[in-house]
């Protein structure tokens, strides 16, 4: 695991309790697949300015701008700064955001934009989201932060029964909606987050008509998708993979830009099997497919869903119609996870071209027990095995 994450764990772990001093990033000596992700060389990140600016999804204004090397928390920060600067209606609040946030995403923003627009709230998730919905209903563009996705449940009622339904129940009453609301939350495994600092609750939100659910995989994606979410007139649940806050570093356009909220992205073209994922596991998928391509002489297509709901069915169905095989990967529990919906859609859309059962490589049906995380989060070996099963069927 990358150095910055080790520093996070060092600050947090009572080291004397663990005399073995085993770090979480070690892997078995003979491991070939389950080795560290090298974020410095992964093709999923833009290591040079020119590859970054070659992205056809970028608007001309961004393509002609410069780039700077940023990690994910810094790109979130620059998106938030742009949103606050460009629109007086934008507000940013949550627990501990004023001093910069526990993950530094709101660094310097209270100083620059004032304590009336960037502020701490009392420690109450239902209060934060309810307050944010009220702000949005009166035409503001509130960005609410839930400190960890694991703590969003007290606000579940406000998100499901209120934010998602304001426009629908108001009917033709003009302008009565909670659009402009973005609820940001760090999500996913971090190596040592255990039960309440590791969860990926996205599937719970994909079952709610009226909400948009977005998960970026990288700093470039985070900035563009977050700015698009803030501009969007539907309420958005924006999950930030916290393990990538410091680990994923790439060249990010300095200018503001948005990325589409209804399009998946094909990260690598291939012809034999389609791998579908989002967020952190994409890096694991990339490593697994590199090994599989070498070992089996196949070519894999890798798709990042980006927007989990509403999601881009067309891109996925088209890809699997071409390859005939699909492997879906996510961290959260397999049962009724996002993968179930994707698999069912593939079955409906690609029935005649499917050559193997759709594989789902996901979290097991359990909780994220502290010392078991590396057995629960899909790793390179499990994804590799999924690809193997798909092609050998």
């Amino acid at each position: 695991m990358a150095a910055p994450l080790r520093s996070l764990s060092r600050a947090w772990r009572p080291s004397k309790c663990f005399p073995s001093a085993r770090t979480y990033s070690t892997h078995p000596p003979n491991a070939r697949l389950n080795t560290e992700i090298d974020y410095k060389t992964t093709p999923l990140l833009h290591h040079t300015s020119s590859t970054c600016l070659a992205n056809p999804e970028l608007p001309e204004s961004a393509k002609s701008s410069t780039t700077s090397r940023q990690n994910l928390f810094q790109s979130v920060n620059s998106a938030l700064a742009h949103a606050l600067r460009s629109n007086d209606s934008t507000l940013l609040f949550g627990e501990d955001v004023a001093f910069g946030g526990v993950f530094r995403c709101s660094m310097n923003l209270a100083t620059e934009f004032g304590s009336e627009r960037v502020f701490n709230t009392p420690l109450s998730e239902q209060g934060i989201v309810g307050f944010a919905i009220g702000c949005a209903m009166e035409g503001m563009r509130p960005i609410a932060e839930i400190q960890f996705a694991d703590y969003v449940y007290p606000a579940f009622d406000q998100l499901v029964n209120e934010a998602a339904k304001v426009r629908y129940r108001a009917g033709t009453n003009p302008g009565m909606h909670a659009g402009g609301l973005v609820v940001r939350m760090p999500a996913g495994g971090v190596g040592h987050g255990a039960l309440y600092h590791s969860q990926s609750p996205e599937a719970l939100f994909t079952h709610i008509p009226g909400l948009r659910v977005v998960i970026p995989r990288s700093p470039v994606q985070a900035k563009g998708l977050l700015l698009a979410s803030i501009e969007c007139n539907d309420p958005v649940v924006f999950l930030e993979p916290k393990i990538l806050y410091r680990a994923a570093v790439e060249q990010v356009p300095v200018a503001a830009y948005t990325l589409p909220l209804d399009k998946a992205e094909i990260l690598k073209q291939g012809s034999d099997v389609t791998i579908i994922s989002y967020g952190t596991p994409l890096y694991t998928c990339q490593k697994a497919l590199e090994a599989a391509e070498k070992d089996f002489g196949i070519s894999c297509e890798l798709i990042d869903l980006r927007t989990i709901y509403p999601w881009d069915r067309e891109t996925v169905v088209k890809s699997v119609s071409k390859t005939g095989r699909a492997v879906i990967v996510h961290e959260s529990m397999i049962n009724a996870g996002v993968g179930a919906e994707v698999a069912a859609t593939i079955q409906e859309g690609c029935f005649l071209t499917l050559e193997a059962p759709v594989q789902r490589i996901c979290g097991w049906s359990t909780h994220m027990g502290l010392v078991y995380e590396r057995f629960n989060v899909p790793d390179v070996a499990r994804i590799y095995d999924g690809i193997k099963k798909a092609i050998q069927y």
Partner: protein
């Protein structure tokens, strides 16, 4: 509440390229910090822990006992006979014309309630909830607000809509879910909403509107300051809820965040003694809802909800305080809590028979002894501004208007079927378009299984005109 990690204070980052900085917009100043970081001085008789405000030390081991406190008094202006109690009090700033308007508003709600409750019993609409006994709280408080003030309601506040000028045809369109309903026939009856009247659509989940009201009030505070509005032009939010809803976590969340963010929000609790079947003794053990406001640092008053003048005066004053217009305009914007005491004379809803949990005689007693409508009528009669003749005439006219709107609304078609999918998102999604097409196919293939004629456009109403 839970373990939170990573809260290291870090030096301002130099990593981020921050562009040209806008000058921060100036808003009304916030309340100063209440404690200093200076630690305890030797010999001090006060506590200076950051979490406690100006607390003196004591060597007397004594618990604060709610049972030894006197209950918060209830503010009233006129008695049950409509007589002004305190003769030395400044005369009421109310004309007979205003009072008559409020009286007619309450009467309209009452007559609408009786007719629609009966219509539900006949199966002509699916559901109804009356406001009996609480018309004074809704009409009196609403009359003290500016029409530009934003309102969040629970569901037993029909009087607000009536006071603000919601037409009878709009009530009926919503109740009958016809094509003229702005809610597009999606909500249960009595879940009214009107952008034009600045009243947010009512939703069934209790208390969810309370933190939303705090957020909306914060939005209005920033917007009005940014627009440079004079203190008199600024807006407040009024938020209504029952004493049962005040047990929800959202009530706690809302009052706390409203106080810490200094939001101009008036929380109005209708304490009518029952949450469906649950009496207040099973709802709370403190001094009602009002006593809680103090704990959140919120200025609070308890009023007689059957006294429309008391409700109106308290709300009017609360509005000035919420905007910071007290102390010669030098006050801080802040939330205010009003607990209006009343008795729910009616059943909870058409799905409830309240005599299963309370005595009929008790209800009859309240109906006869005291209610906001007869109290105001007695007041008006004592001023010779009302009499039996006008009463009969006005009642007959309102009844006629209600029945006319009823007849017109009941026969109307329902909104087009496409409304089932619209407004979930700003635009209908591709997935939804595919589902609409599929529903169209089903309706075509299984024609005899569905009655689509009551919907505008029938099957074609699925598709965009």
């Amino acid at each position: 509440m839970y373990f939170r990690h990573g809260c290291r204070r870090v030096a301002p980052s130099k990593v981020l390229p921050i562009g040209a900085r806008n000058a921060p917009i100036t808003y009304p100043t916030r309340a100063p910090r209440r404690w200093s970081s200076v630690s305890q001085r030797p010999g001090s008789d006060h506590l200076v822990f950051p979490g406690a405000v100006d607390s003196k030390f004591t060597t007397n081991l004594a618990f604060e006992r709610p049972s030894e406190k006197t209950a918060m008094p209830t503010f009233r202006i006129m008695d049950q006979d409509g007589k002004i109690i305190d003769k030395d009090r400044e005369p009421l700033v109310v004309t007979d014309e205003e009072a008559i308007k409020w009286y007619k508003d309450m009467l309209t709600v009452s007559i609408l309630d009786i007719i629609m409750f009966e219509a539900q019993r006949q199966g002509r609409l699916s559901f109804y909830m009356v406001s009996a006994g609480e018309e004074g709280i809704a009409v009196g408080s609403s009359a003290a607000l500016s029409p530009a003030d934003v309102i969040f309601a629970q569901y037993r506040e029909t009087g607000i809509f009536q006071q603000r000028g919601f037409p009878l045809s709009a009530f009926m369109s919503q109740l009958f879910c016809n094509k003229n309903d702005v809610g597009r026939g999606r909500n249960m009856p009595v879940h009214y909403g009107s952008k034009e009247l600045n009243i947010h659509t009512i939703s069934s989940p209790l208390a969810t509107q309370i933190p939303q009201a705090a957020g909306a009030a914060y939005a209005l505070k920033l917007q009005d300051a940014l627009a440079g509005k004079s203190p008199e032009e600024r807006r407040v939010v009024a938020c209504y809820f029952g004493e049962g809803a005040a047990s929800e976590g959202d009530f706690h969340a809302a009052l706390n965040i409203a106080a810490t963010r200094s939001t101009p929000c008036i929380f109005i609790c209708r304490n009518n003694g029952f949450a469906i079947s649950t009496p207040t003794l099973e709802q709370y053990r403190g001094d009602g809802i009002a006593s809680r406001g103090i704990g959140y640092g919120i200025d609070t008053i308890r009023v007689d909800g059957n006294d429309i003048f008391a409700v109106r005066e308290a709300t009017k004053r609360a509005r000035e305080m919420a905007l910071g217009l007290d102390n010669d305009g030098n006050g801080e914007p802040r939330p205010i809590l009003i607990e209006a005491m009343s008795y729910r004379v009616s059943h909870h809803s058409t799905s409830d028979d309240s005599f299963a949990y309370r005595a009929r005689v008790e209800v009859e007693d309240w109906k006869r002894r005291d209610n906001p409508i007869t109290r105001l009528r007695k007041y008006l009669e004592s001023r010779s501004a009302w009499d039996e003749g006008r009463e009969k005439e006005v009642r007959a006219a309102i009844r006629k208007d209600v029945l006319k709107a009823f007849a017109e609304a009941e026969g109307e078609k329902r909104p087009p079927l496409r409304s089932l999918w619209e407004d979930v998102y700003e635009n209908v999604t591709e997935e939804q378009e595919a589902q609409i097409k599929e529903m169209g196919r089903i309706l075509e293939e299984y024609k005899d299984e569905y009655d689509v004629e009551e919907f505008e456009g029938g099957r074609n109403g699925l598709f965009k005109a």
